[in-house]
């Protein structure tokens, strides 16, 4: 009987300790969560779920972009392989804080979004996938406003299809 008793009290203690730990973790999360997010820029999960480029831009920045000839995009006229399309962007705009790449006809429009801290050049080159012939849109956030450039890239072999 004593053994059962011990077993019972040990289990009870474990449960209590467990509850205590959970409570501590729960409380601990609250003050640390915002600090963590600020130090480790949060991944824009929702923006990467949007199907259209307009919804993705809205989700990412909460505003719309206006076309600007100060945003220069370098992308091929024709991409032989949609799985690897080299696209780069540069801009003469000042105070650039972010640059994003979108493909209108992809199942998920947003491809990549880059944070540009002060001191980093507003020039980015990367390689993206394109399901089919589509407009490629580059959005530059500068001085709190959004500027964009659009170019159609023809794809002969898609990079997202089955």
């Amino acid at each position: 009987m004593t053994r059962t008793d011990n077993g019972f009290s040990a289990t009870r203690r474990l449960i209590l300790q467990g509850a205590g730990a959970v409570a501590l973790v729960g409380l601990g999360n609250l003050p640390f969560a915002p600090a963590f997010a600020a130090a480790n820029d949060k991944y824009p999960e929702e923006a990467f779920k949007q199907k259209t480029e307009a919804d993705a831009i809205k989700s990412l920045y909460g505003k719309t972009a206006e076309a600007s000839d100060k945003v220069k995009m370098d992308a091929p006229e024709i991409a032989e392989n949609g799985a690897v399309v080299p696209v780069s962007v540069s801009t003469t705009l000042a105070d650039v804080t972010s640059i994003s790449f979108l493909v209108a006809e992809n199942p998920v429009a947003l491809v990549a979004s880059y944070k540009i801290p002060a001191g980093t050049m507003p020039n980015v080159a990367n390689r993206i996938k394109m399901a089919k012939t589509s407009n490629v849109i580059v959005v530059v956030e500068a001085g709190g406003k959004l500027y964009s450039a659009t170019k159609e890239v023809k794809v002969t072999v898609g990079g997202c299809g089955g």
Binding site: V111, P117, T120, M121, K129, C160
Partner: protein, 103 residues
């Protein structure tokens, strides 16, 4: 295991140009395998470059970035011999980190 990250950082005196190539499948979740079944999404979500303990470039990526992704950027400053820290995390929680000497 060898690092998945290959990075080259070159200082021109005033600026440092950084090129990175990472080994990763970058599966979007929309492509079917040879049996006609969808390959589940598996892609890098965030790639961070830090210099002197501060981020100089942060990439948020979706499944639309090409397999074995490549990215190029440049930042002001950066001395030859200094270290640049590069790390990524993918949608399954896997991570990798490396440091490169600026050349």
């Amino acid at each position: 295991m060898a690092s998945t990250i290959r990075v080259r950082a070159t200082s021109s005196g005033e600026t440092t140009e950084v090129q990175a190539l990472i080994q990763h499948p970058m599966d979007s979740g929309f492509i079917k395998d040879s049996k006609g079944e969808l390959i589940p999404p598996h892609f890098i979500q965030q790639l961070t470059f830090e210099y002197n303990g501060k981020p100089v470039f942060v990439a948020d990526w979706g499944g639309g970035v090409s397999k074995d992704p490549y990215v190029k950027f440049a930042f002001k400053g950066g001395k030859k011999g200094d270290e640049l820290k590069v790390s990524w995390v993918d949608n399954k929680g896997a991570t990798d980190t490396t440091t490169a000497k600026i050349q």
